[in-house]
């Protein structure tokens, strides 16, 4: 009988004191799903509120707190930890042939940091409520808002360290624990994407830590760093904040790109087209992503020449994303395609990511940004990237590796229904917002012009379909734990080390040490799929 699976051990302590990267990944999955529904509730409140032009469901203050909660929880406690911590933790060691992450204790400590920071922030947001938006712009957050800003800042500060330690863990694991024969050019593209994300996690998050520290000091002791009366500069806050936050949006999208590379090659049964270009485009996004933060401040009083430079660099950063999109569609040429559920999520990703990327270039255009900045056009753009692409990537990964994580198969039909519902509900929700934005409806408006009501009602209708689509997997995936049939070792006949171990994998991933002698995505007929 092969070694018992990692889920074999029972009891609470086996979960809360585990050092096994697979169990920590499952802990992250539960935590991240909880925060996803907490943020989603706030989003539902906002969409119901915006059905009528005058604010009747929530007061102005209530609405401001709702969108701040939605922003803070979704960005820092769902999008940033979702794929790197859940699937990064589970898959990185298995995909490179290692027994565990480099620093197991640091891994568990990161989860406790995220959980502690998250609950503390959610508590501070619910009990006190902060109305500064997730961007904490000064002098509003330092001189004109209530004391709970400092509590929320402490929560996010703590959770920031969870990102830093996860990033360090992944980089060290990929550098030092690869199985013999697993050279850099044989690594799966998911590993390249997670490695590039970890570089951003490690280098950008400390700047957020010091910025939040300065805002808290400014709020408590009126230190003056961002207070213009003492000579400080509110624009300096925006520079420091966006220096972190733009790389942070690449933290959210890069792992999802890695997932889609895996899904496309597995569904098409074919090696990816242009492996080197797609691999190095992840690293290129990570590096250039650090240079473009100024395009958030074209209208904020930044000098014209700095805006010119940032606009040009923003066009440069869109090239690696274009390379990925083109290479994905080129991979499907002469492929042997099976239309299973995860692949539909990958198609949703490609469709919505391309629209999101192109509208991002709209906002990089200086003259167009003068009009579209801080309107619903921006809201639609970043939701297309964060919700359309990153969450579709997360759901694709969930449906693709669910048999490997839990050892159970779920119903493909329901998976496909969810994918189609997500695509339709999403477009109905956010495409009208592009039109609203160009018509001039500003962001974060609690009551708006009656002219805009029709498009807002369309958007709220779409939001209800999207909410349904996000709740569906909750049933058939958890249902599969009980009624799902046992999953074989390789349900999708995919190539990759994780499909050569039993599902769910044993505690130490591999019975005997692994040597890798095959290229990445080796679907050639002679490559037998024998169990390792």
């Amino acid at each position: 009988m092969s070694a018992p699976s990692y889920l074999h051990q029972q009891g609470l302590l086996s979960w809360f004191l585990t050092l096994d990267h697979k169990r920590i990944a499952v802990l992250y999955m539960v935590t991240v799903t909880f925060f996803f529904f907490a943020g989603g509730l706030a989003a539902t409140l906002i969409r119901i509120e915006l059905v009528t032009p005058q604010g009747d469901l929530l007061t102005a203050d209530g609405y401001n707190r709702a969108f701040t909660l939605h922003g803070v929880i979704m960005v820092w406690f769902f999008l940033i930890p979702s794929i790197p911590s859940v699937f990064g933790n589970f898959l990185v060691p298995i995909m490179i042939g290692a027994r565990d992450m480099a620093f197991p204790r640091l891994n568990l400590f990161s989860w406790y940091l995220l959980l502690g920071g998250g609950l503390f922030t959610l508590l501070a947001l619910l009990l006190g409520g902060v109305d500064t938006g997730w961007t904490f712009y000064t002098p509003l957050s330092t001189m004109f808002s209530n004391g709970h800003v400092v509590a929320v800042i402490c929560g996010v500060f703590i959770a920031g360290f969870s990102s830093i330690f996860t990033g360090i863990n992944i980089i060290v694991t990929v550098h030092t624990l690869r199985a013999p024969g697993m050279t850099w050019m044989r690594l799966p593209l998911f590993i390249w994407a997670i490695y590039a994300t970890s570089i951003i996690l490690v280098l950008a998050t400390p700047v957020l830590a010091i910025t939040l520290l300065l805002v808290a000091a400014e709020h408590l002791f009126n230190v003056g760093v961002f207070d213009p009366r003492l000579g400080g500069d509110p624009l300096l806050f925006q520079h420091l904040f966006w220096f972190y936050s733009h790389p942070a949006v690449y933290i959210m999208i890069l792992p999802a790109m890695g997932v889609v590379s895996e899904l496309i090659t597995a569904a098409g049964h074919k090696r990816i087209f242009g492996y080197r270009f797609v691999a190095w485009s992840s690293v290129a996004i990570a590096v250039i992503g650090f240079l473009v933060w100024g395009h958030h401040m074209f209208v904020a009083g930044q000098s014209m020449y700095a805006s010119l430079v940032f606009s040009l660099l923003s066009f440069l950063v869109s090239i690696p994303s274009a390379i990925k999109a083109y290479n994905w569609s080129a991979t499907l040429y002469k492929s042997d395609l099976t239309l299973h559920a995860p692949f539909l999520f990958a198609l949703t990703f490609i469709g919505l990511f391309i629209i999101g990327g192109v509208t991002g270039l709209f906002l990089a255009l200086l003259a167009a940004d003068l009009h579209a900045h801080d309107t619903y056009f921006v809201v639609a753009h970043f939701h297309y990237i964060m919700v359309g692409a990153a969450v579709a990537g997360y759901f694709g990964a969930l449906h693709f590796w669910w048999p490997k994580i839990t050892g159970r198969l779920y119903s493909q039909l329901w998976g496909k229904i969810t994918a189609v519902l997500v695509f339709c509900g999403f477009n109905l929700t956010f495409f009208p917002q592009f039109l609203l934005g160009y018509l001039g409806m500003p962001r974060r408006y609690h009551a708006y012009d009656p002219d805009f009501q029709f498009l807002n009602v369309l958007s709220s209708a779409g939001a209800s379909i999207l909410a349904l689509a996000y709740v569906l997997p909750f049933f058939y995936l958890l249902g599969s734990l009980r009624w799902g049939e046992r999953a074989p070792m390789n349900p999708w006949e995919a190539a990759g080390l994780e499909w050569r171990v039993p599902s769910p994998p044993p505690l130490h991933n591999f019975e005997e040490p692994v040597t890798v002698d095959f290229e990445a995505y080796d679907y050639s007929p002679e490559a037998r799929r024998d169990p390792v």
Partner: protein, 213 residues
């Protein structure tokens, strides 16, 4: 004489691999510290460029003699930590522990000196939050004083952590298990962290105290 039952930690197959991983891990952590303090130093330089006169007034009031003594102490502690690492490579336990203790004591002396400095500034009414009758009348001087306080306090916390690590390692290095591979790796990590804390002070010292006196 390496004890035979001592095998590398769980995920690693060889000692060299584990030391390599620990070294890369500490270097990445140093990179995050450098990014954080780098941003703080850049903010200080931004305000030096924007308000030269206000900053000059604030810098005039700082106690540069104490700070120079502090810099000397941190440089010596860095030397002692390097000598400690050299002693561990030669297997000389006594020198290793003496150097480690020396470095930790110098760190405590640095913190004491910093405390004295804060005490003087508190009496002069320069610290943020307690500055009712502060002698500074330029607003940007207040700003720079507050920035000085945040930067030095954050650095003092890191010196405190470094001293704690040094003393913890001193306890662990009881004469018998000096040669355990794990402790030598830990010694190297603490040495690297110590040098970073010293390197940050080397850049903070002129930025806050010396330029534009």
């Amino acid at each position: 004489m390496i004890r035979s039952d001592e095998k590398p930690a769980e995920p690693f197959v060889a000692w060299a691999q584990q030391r390599e991983a620990a070294r890369l891990g500490i270097w990445l952590f140093l990179a995050t510290e450098a990014m954080m303090f780098g941003s703080l130093i850049m903010v200080a330089w931004l305000y030096r460029l924007q308000h030269p006169d206000g900053v000059a007034e604030a810098v005039a009031g700082l106690h540069w003699q104490l700070a120079t003594a502090n810099t000397f102490m941190l440089l010596t502690s860095s030397l002692l930590m390097t000598l400690a690492l050299a002693a561990s490579e030669q297997g000389n336990a006594l020198r290793l522990r003496r150097c480690l203790l020396g470095a930790a004591l110098l760190g405590v002396l640095f913190l004491a000196c910093k405390g004295v400095e804060y005490g003087l500034e508190y009496r002069e009414g320069l610290l943020p939050g307690f500055a009712e009758d502060s002698p500074l009348h330029l607003p940007s001087a207040h700003l720079f004083m507050n920035l000085y306080f945040i930067a030095t306090a954050l650095h003092a916390v890191h010196v405190l952590v470094a001293v704690g690590l040094g003393l913890w390692l001193y306890m662990r290095l009881a004469p018998d298990n000096l040669s355990a591979r794990g402790t030598r790796t830990r010694l190297e990590m603490v040495t690297l962290y110590w040098h970073l804390v010293d390197g940050i002070w080397i850049l903070l010292f002129p930025t806050l105290y010396l330029v534009g006196r």
